[in-house]
Subunit: 464 residues, 2 copies
């Protein structure tokens, strides 16, 4: 309903002007996004308070329900209670539902906002390059919802099938359990949620390519983002005609996967705490997973509490960058990162235009990328400061936790289980900000830009 | 000579075209800066190799000389050997000379580069606002050199006088020792160098306002930067007519000092390891010094190895931001930081111009600020990664050390003394990059910009 309201408002312009607080909040399409997510989180918290959902019968009260609801809806995967033992199958089913709603929500809303930005910019009379109108020529909103749903279900079903067969054939699970575990981990993977039904997450499957590989593929698929999947699956466009968005996302993903795998292998290959004891297959799988999981699925097949500081640092960087726009991945997004990289590269070469593959990147896109990245850095620094004040953990662990929450990754060095409530609220705020904030800020920036009619005299303070 | 060559080239245009490697390197004014600094560092290393300069008679060989020379010329203050005991008075005198040359060099060269940038932009036909031509209307280059020298000496002499009287009257030093210590610490302070003749740096004076206050004032004075000092001392301009550069630097400095003092006090006031045992005067002085020294003097009146993680975090931020442009302070500079802050603020308000006090900031200034800040972040991350790989220290200590080196601060949690040679080279590279790189990159960006004559079609990848 919130979505339909938002879309109606988007069609009608700036809202209906009624005085009802909720409808006023809803009246701007960008504002609708946080409100809609907040409502789902509240409903989720209520459901997870049900005694039937919890093996403790509700004894631990509000906090585990609230934290888990935020973590599931924001598809993060940070947990203060063990998913495998704290929740009953009903509770696990509720979590799965929240993940699916959260992932579907962010994917459709981000896509629709991107569509709105494009239309609004078109209306403001700016020229839109020919190749661009192709990028998101999706027909209407209903089509977006249906397509997203169809793609999600197809990906999830395929992944679930492989995982179910494997759980059934190699791990002596009965068909019902195998189907449940296969479905849960498939949905958790495609939505980049990182929740697992195993207390040690995926560490038990570290050497099994039939579990790790399909999960990695689902993660990468969900993390590319809907606009990219649509363009790829339509199959009309030859690589040389790819839009800048598609190029940046695909090549950026390949680059980060290759670099992440190489560095993870370099730092962990022989360490006894992590990859050392594994078979060659396990080492290769673990290194690959070490570059896939941080962007930003949040599963883990090694113990990150035992990872080397340099691995944590590389993981921090991968987590912060995150995945593709308008997908289930978090972080500041690959496009944001690469646009800034190209902006600096072009600046160093003394050009005043940012060009990628014979297209220039609009200066408003550059400013949005700058804002998203620096606000992200500010959020992580603020969260880290608060966690340092509220706990006694080292900077290493606290920074990792803050980035993991902000980028909705869900990895942890293990400190999430032992935080005071105030620190849990800091993480919840980071998850919500990271999940909704980056999308909403970027869209709001693009939608509310109103060029001034006169220009003030310029000054050039000395920089650097 | 290098300076004169540079200035001649700047006057004559792009250089003389001779094939001599050195003269070719020198032919571009920006390139002359790193070369000139490198030469001073090499000469300094040679002098510090002299057996007479060292109490060990030269036994420890090359590394202490090279590291100390880089640290002194880059006015950083990181040390691998104790200045008080490793060097003879001759060695300490050489260090002081390197500090003075390094500080004078960076101050004049950065000022001249800023002047060149302005002229070159004027030549390219862009309008320069009226208030701006006032900012740096210094006559000619000789005038810059003389004025910088006069201002430095005045500041240093005044500081040295107060310190000498205090060392003589309150610490039972004989007049010659008091004069030597007063002069050394005055020069070290104004140049933001952080070298001290005491093994525990300034910890022994933590409660003495007659030592800490003049040192803090000299640090702030040197850190404001020459263009700001000139504008302030000319006294012609009423605050309402201040240039943007002056406003940003002055108000930014006040803001960072106030915030730094408050946070340092909040985190350390009662901790036994730092401010706890001190008198009220000592606590206030210590808190103030805790916000002055990181920007970017690098003295310490508390043991940063015992500071709380949240204090280290705040200090990291202050160090990275640094001081004013074209002064002796390091970091990315206040203007860079504030221009980015205003860029985001204006972006959030939906404006496509960055305005400060009814002036707009040119988009090329914004792009330079972005490049300087993000290249700085990249340098710190790369340095941190290398130190993590090369040593066994925690992220907390290693990140602090990397930022301290990059921002030419010189504070340490104490690990500098125990690094392997490879890690020392990483720190030397960071110091050199931070000292020369930010200035050179920013100037080079401004000088080499050549607008393209045609514009490519624009695309807008989805951001965030
Ligand atoms: K996640
Ligand atoms: K320093």
């Amino acid at each position: 309903a919130a979505v339909q309201k938002m879309l109606r408002d988007a069609r009608n312009g700036k809202g209906t002007g009624r005085e009802n607080v909720v409808s006023r909040l809803m009246s701007h399409p960008v504002r609708a996004v946080p409100v809609a997510f907040l409502m789902v989180i509240i409903v989720g918290t209520g459901l997870l308070m049900l005694p039937a959902a919890r093996t403790d019968g509700g004894a631990e009260g509000f906090m585990p329900a609230a934290f888990t609801s935020v973590s599931a809806v924001c598809v993060t995967g940070l947990i203060t209670v063990d998913t495998a033992t704290f929740w009953t199958p009903l509770g696990q089913g509720i979590i799965l539902g929240l993940i699916q709603v959260g992932g579907f929500g962010i994917m459709t809303l981000a896509t629709l906002l991107a569509l709105l930005v494009r239309k609004s910019i078109g209306l403001r009379g700016q020229l839109v390059a020919q190749s661009e109108t192709h990028t998101l020529n999706l027909g209407d909103v209903r089509a977006v919802l249906l397509r997203v749903a169809r793609i999600m279900l197809a990906f999830e079903a395929a992944t679930a099938l492989v995982l179910t067969l494997r759980f059934w054939s190699a791990y002596e699970q009965n068909p019902a359990t195998a189907l449940w575990h296969g479905t849960f981990h498939a949905i958790s993977a495609f939505n980049n949620a990182g929740f697992s039904l195993y207390s040690d997450n995926l560490i038990g499957f570290a050497e099994d390519p039939w579990i790790i590989t399909p999960i990695c593929l689902a993660i990468i698929g969900g993390g590319l983002g809907f606009p990219v999947i649509i363009q790829l699956t339509r199959g009309e466009v030859a690589p040389k005609d790819w839009s800048i968005h598609l190029r940046l996302t695909i090549y950026g993903t390949l680059l980060l996967l290759a670099a992440g795998t190489a560095l993870f292998a370099a730092f962990e290959w022989n360490r006894n705490e992590t990859l050392g004891p594994l078979s060659l297959t396990g080492k290769i799988l673990g290194s690959f997973a070490g570059s896939v999981f941080p962007r930003t699925a949040g599963f883990n097949s090694i113990d990150y509490g035992a990872a080397s500081p340099e691995t944590l640092m590389v993981t921090n960087i991968l987590m912060f960058i995150g995945g593709g726009s308008a997908g289930t991945a978090g972080g500041i997004k690959i496009t944001t990162f690469l646009v800034l990289g190209f902006a600096i590269w072009n600046e160093v070469r003394g050009r005043d235009q940012v060009t990628i593959a014979h297209r220039s990147i609009s200066s408003s896109s550059q400013r949005q990328a700058l804002s998203v990245a620096l606000l992200g850095i500010a959020a992580v620094i603020a969260g880290t400061m608060l966690l340092l004040i509220l706990t006694d953990y080292s900077l290493e662990k606290v920074l990792f936790e803050a980035i993991s929450a902000f980028a909705t990754v869900g990895m942890s060095t293990g400190i999430t289980y032992n935080l005071p409530p105030a620190a849990e609220w800091v993480l919840m705020a980071l998850m919500f900000t990271g999940r909704i904030g980056t999308v909403a800020v970027a869209s709001a920036l693009a939608l509310t830009a109103h060029p001034r009619l006169f220009r003030l005299p310029e000054e050039r303070p000395i920089i650097g």
